[in-house]
Amino acid sequence: MPSEAPIRLSEVTYRVGGATLVRDLSFDVGKAETVVLLGRSGSGKTTALRLVNHVLMPSAGEVVVEGRRTADWDPIRLRRRIGYVIQEVGLFPHFTVARNISLLPSLEGWETARVDARTRELLDKVGLPDDVLSRYPHQLSGGQRQRVGVARALAADPPILLMDEPFGALDPITRAEIQREFLAIQETLGKSILFVTHDLREALLLGDRIGFMDRGRLVWMGRPQEFRTGSDPRIAAFRESLS
């Protein structure tokens, strides 16, 4: 189905232990599009991401990735088509940078030469010098670690990326720099990206569309320009709280 959006959620609800973490979530992420889910912490953004790569299963509704319901995917195959970046990065502390980046291509059975070439290519793409390849994560700065995290997520060239507040722990200058680089990379790679943040400026900068989440619901979705000027009271209140 070539016209099918890479990610589509239809009336997805997720409940656990009596709590409803997300409710009636419906939206899609188009090809080469960046959709940003914006909302306060606890509004269900991370839960929404975990429903896409089948770490969580919807209690109701369905999540469709590349035309197939996540329930019908082999979860391992599904996740290998979806790059994942989180704020805490979660690099493997006992692996070098090179091994961190190349792990998934190796598991996928790529030849060594191709893996090495890919690792260097990615390092260059995320703006790191070759000499970090032999270092361990604890020998890197926060910004470098997050760049490695992005490179690792891109390693097997997945068509889809899920990013959970990936730049949230960085200092403002590094963050601005890495956001610009992110835009440049996305320009050339054209991934389908679902990006989560509680930072309004980041959402406005990176999103092709923004979805605003509040208490497990998607209450508004539209273009960044519309968000700036939108008159929906909940959006207005969120804007107010930041200015």
Binding site: I76, G90, F92, H94, L103, L107, H138
Partner: protein, 213 residues
């Protein structure tokens, strides 16, 4: 008799007793590790049996070693007089520290690291082999060290059920009120415990080389 006279008199036996002691502890630790490491892993996958397994191993730990050896004598297959009962008892004592450290070592792996591994599409087996066990290695080895050092001490009781070892000297020394004979058993046992701790420490350092955590 002075210590050196005792030493000269018992020297031929000393090597044999050290060998027995080493063998008892070594075999018991291999068996214990082969049971306890998989059991600890299983606990991290089946949290419902956690209380049951840790409860059992805890209970074993509270039985005085002399009593445990005594209990084993009348049992068929695993019991009786001799090294077999001694090894069974040593294995039982070693289970707790190894199970517990395997379990906590894996549980203490940074959740962000596990989340990243899961989300990138690693299978459970790959996460265990490539991420959790290497990162838990230091804690698991610490459990093995505690178990081994304890085992060297507990094995001195094995002589009472005819399993030999350095306890032979200690108990004969106690019966004849000969402190030099007691020392002839106790000193090599202490050295063996220190040596095992040191050797396992070297292996441990090798396992976690290149990483600061």
């Amino acid at each position: 008799m002075t210590f050196s006279e005792i030493f000269d008199q018992y020297q031929p036996q000393l090597v044999a007793r050290i060998g027995e002691h080493f063998w008892l502890v070594g075999v018991a630790m291999l068996i214990a590790a082969a049971i306890a490491v998989p059991a600890g892993i299983l606990l991290t996958r089946q949290p419902k049996i956690e209380r049951w397994v840790l409860g059992f191993t805890n209970a074993v730990q509270t039985i005085p070693s002399l009593a445990l050896f005594g209990f084993l004598i009348p049992l068929p297959v695993i019991g009786g007089i001799g090294p077999r009962s001694a090894i069974v008892a040593l294995v039982l004592y070693a289970l707790l520290p190894i199970v517990r450290n395997t379990y906590t070592g894996i549980k203490e792996v940074d959740p962000a690291v596990r989340e990243a591994a899961l989300a990138m599409g690693m299978t459970d087996g790959q996460i265990l082999r490539m991420v959790e066990l290497p990162l838990a290695a230091r804690t698991i080895m610490a459990g093995l060290r505690v178990a081994t050092v304890t085992g060297v001490g507990v094995a001195t009781v094995a002589t009472l059920i005819g399993a030999g070892g350095l306890g032979d000297f200690i108990y004969r020394g106690l019966q004849t009120v000969n402190s030099n004979l007691i020392l002839l058993g106790a000193v090599p046992a202490a050295l063996m415990a220190l040596g095992a701790d040191f050797g396992l420490g070297l292996i441990e350092r090798k396992l976690v080389k290149g990483r600061v955590s």
